[in-house]
């Protein structure tokens, strides 16, 4: 199957992009080290070069600051590179949480059915009745109002709008697998519910889920970037692409004069999401005989 992926130029492009992103994320401390001498407690807070001061006006790219600086002399190269790391970190946190919740609830709902299923389904229905980002906005606004750290509130909200999707997906898979004969056999031989769930149902339903999760990775990062762009995510001067663009918006009012303040972070987002989308397309193409063609 892997060889087939490699034959398709688009999927190769996707893999290349993802590898490049992974590379940036893993080696961020070496590619964009903190050269200011000021110790940060949060590496995602973009360190400011004391030589440049705290001027509002962004500086154009120079050899010292490859992508230039944005407002308050925030270094964009550091921001974009560490932004990759941040994207991965955030994405993984969210995926693990939503998958985890989705697995537990989906298994329970699918396996036991009945009342538990109804209750869980009603909850997912309610959350899914809101278009994506909007419910997240509500949660961030409320939690922000009562004093939560906005970034944490954002991550929390994204998880909150994400778990119903996985719950439904897994529930569907569980229902499909539950009717299979080997599950009947296991039950007849006296295996406990938990054992059946873990040893039989889980391994057979996980395949689709993994594919969906890897496709979702890109859209989670996009959602987080959108929240940051609305000011509902990372704080100022954070290595988060969405936030960087938000910080660059006032300078977009001067046309392309300060182009580096928003173009670079945007390109990084595109390269990230594009990679995951291409890979997702490739996976789908490989698994679908109808679209196979030379």
């Amino acid at each position: 199957m892997f060889t087939r992926i490699l034959k398709n130029p688009l999927s190769v492009a996707g893999l290349v992009l993802i590898s490049y992103n992974v590379f940036l994320a893993v080696f961020a401390p070496f590619i964009a080290p903190n050269t200011t001498g000021i110790v940060q407690y949060d590496p995602y807070l973009i360190p400011r070069d004391p030589a440049l001061g705290m001027w509002m006006e962004p500086n154009a790219p120079t050899p010292a600051h490859l992508f230039g600086t944005s407002s308050m002399q925030v270094d964009l190269f550091y921001g974009c590179v560490w932004g990759t790391r941040f994207a991965f970190q955030l994405g993984l946190e969210v995926i693990v949480a939503t998958l985890g919740i989705g697995l537990v609830l989906g298994l329970l709902a699918g396996y036991y059915g009945g009342f538990i299923d109804e209750v869980i389904m009603r909850f997912t229905d309610i959350i899914l009745a809101f278009p994506g980002l909007i419910l997240a906005m509500v949660f961030v606004a409320v939690l922000g109002k009562i004093g939560w750290n906005v970034l944490q509130a954002a991550i929390f909200s994204i998880i909150l709008i994400g778990w119903p999707g996985y719950t439904r997906l897994i529930r569907g898979e569980v229902l499909r697998v539950r009717g299979e004969d080997y599950v009947e056999a296991a039950r007849a031989s006296g295996a406990s519910d938990l054992r059946i769930m873990v040893r039989h149902i889980l391994p057979n339903s996980i395949y689709t889920v993994i594919i969906v999760a890897s496709l979702d990775f890109g859209s989670i990062v996009l959602t987080a970037a959108a929240l940051s762009f609305l000011g509902l995510g990372s704080p100022a001067g954070y290595a988060d692409w969405g936030r960087l663009i938000f910080d660059g918006v006032p300078y977009a009012a001067s046309g392309l004069y300060y182009w580096w303040t928003f173009v670079y972070p945007g390109i990084f987002i595109v390269l990230f999401t594009l990679g995951w989308n291409l890979l997702g397309d490739a996976l789908r193409d490989v698994l679908d005989p109808l679209t196979r063609r030379k």
Partner: protein, 386 residues
């Protein structure tokens, strides 16, 4: 093959599939002829190329397939045309009218969002339009006699449009008018006329209560009824040849028998030639006049039904006949598997499964030669017998 007139003759057809796994050489020089008024069986395993062959006759080649070489002649009113050289527009006039096809899964062959009546009427509109126009005109003339005033004037307009259609069917203004929603009402007469024809057609296929069935959707019909509807579609325009691609394989045994009887009956009445594609030798024995055996893209043997069953010449045919399960006999199957057609063997493609294989068989592909009257075989074993 010169004794009797052939309706369709396939000459040396080569067809390849271009897939991610390589080039599949599906048809390797297939030659067949279907004679006027006969039922020719095309028998072979899955993957032998029988479905692809039948689709090729209609010049329908689904990508990633491609016809590499060959000729398919059709004999219409004394003139011969090469189907593979005809353009799409001409082929559209040939399909359904001179050659038509029925399929394995009847409900899959019908569009689920249109009624049976609509789909059969389509064939009438396409291939028997003059008749529709004629009966509409006749009807219209009768109707306009019993009305007056505005209605009569409207009828008159409709009449002139229909008469124009009779004389000059492809004229531009008619085509434009037929697309405009309110103004194309003049076509309603034809639709009513078509309805009548469709009901007649359904009746002739023993479909009960045709007036009700005509407005039903495919999923509402049973397998047998659906297949009858498909057959109705195929025979509407009285084609020269019908291709039947395993039409009874997906049906219950009892229904199968009914449909087979129906097909034979129709064939007798309409003198249609039939290319009957199947893997079921029992059906062949019951239904066909002649048989062609296909293996891995090559024609192995062609003979009259009686001769094939009594005196099978090709080792594959012999093995096939042996493998038919019989009570009291041990179950025998052909050893080995069908070769990969991406890298087919250079010589005879049946080589590694053949009990009579010789050295010659490895290097040289056997040609189809005539052993006796109406009995051809492609096997080195029989080369000396000519």
């Amino acid at each position: 093959m010169e004794e009797q007139q052939s309706v369709v003759e396939i000459k040396d057809l080569y067809l390849n599939f271009y897939t991610y796994d390589g080039i599949v050489k599906a048809l390797d020089g297939v030659s067949l002829s279907i004679r006027k008024g006969e039922i020719l069986g095309l028998v072979g395993e899955t993957g032998s190329g029988k479905s692809v062959t039948s689709l090729s006759v209609l010049s329908i080649v689904i990508p990633p397939g491609r016809i590499e070489k060959g000729q398919i002649d059709i004999n219409v009113k004394g003139k011969t045309y090469d189907i593979l050289s005809l353009n799409d527009a001409t082929m559209a006039r040939v399909r359904g009218r001179y050659i038509s096809m029925i399929f394995q899964e009847p409900r899959a062959a019908l569009n689920p969002v249109y009624t049976i009546g609509d789909q059969i009427a389509e064939v009438f509109f396409h291939h028997r339009r003059p008749e529709l126009v004629e009966s509409s005109i006749a009807r219209l003339k009768k109707d306009s006699e019993s009305t007056s005033g505005l209605k009569r004037a409207i009828y008159r307009r409709e009449l002139s449009l229909l008469e124009k259609m009779q004389k000059n069917p492809g004229s531009l203004d008619l085509r434009v008018l037929s697309r405009i929603p309110l103004l194309n009402r003049f076509q309603n007469r034809m639709k009513t006329a078509a309805r009548q024809y469709v009901i007649e057609m359904l009746k002739s296929l023993n479909i009960p209560d045709p007036a009700r069935v005509i407005d039903m959707y495919p999923h509402e019909l049973s397998g047998g009824m659906a297949q009858r509807a498909v057959i109705a579609m195929a025979l509407c325009a009285n084609p020269l040849m019908l291709i039947a691609d395993e039409p009874t394989t997906s049906l219950d045994v009892t229904v199968q028998a009914q449909i087979l009887l129906l097909i034979k009956d129709l064939q007798r009445r309409l003198h249609t030639s039939i290319l009957y594609v199947t893997h079921d030798l029992g059906v062949i024995a019951e239904t066909c006049d002649r048989v062609a055996v296909l293996y891995a893209g090559n024609v192995a043997e062609v003979a009259n039904v009686m001769d094939l069953f009594k005196k099978p010449l090709h080792p594959y045919t012999q093995a096939l006949l042996e493998s038919i399960p019989r009570p009291g006999h041990k179950f025998v199957s052909i050893r080995g598997i069908v070769p990969s057609l991406v890298n087919p063997p250079k010589g005879c493609r049946f080589y590694d499964r053949c009990d009579f294989a010789m050295d010659k068989c490895v290097h040289q592909e056997p040609e189809l030669i005539k052993i006796e009257k109406d009995h051809f075989v492609a096997c080195h074993l029989h080369y000396g017998e000519k």
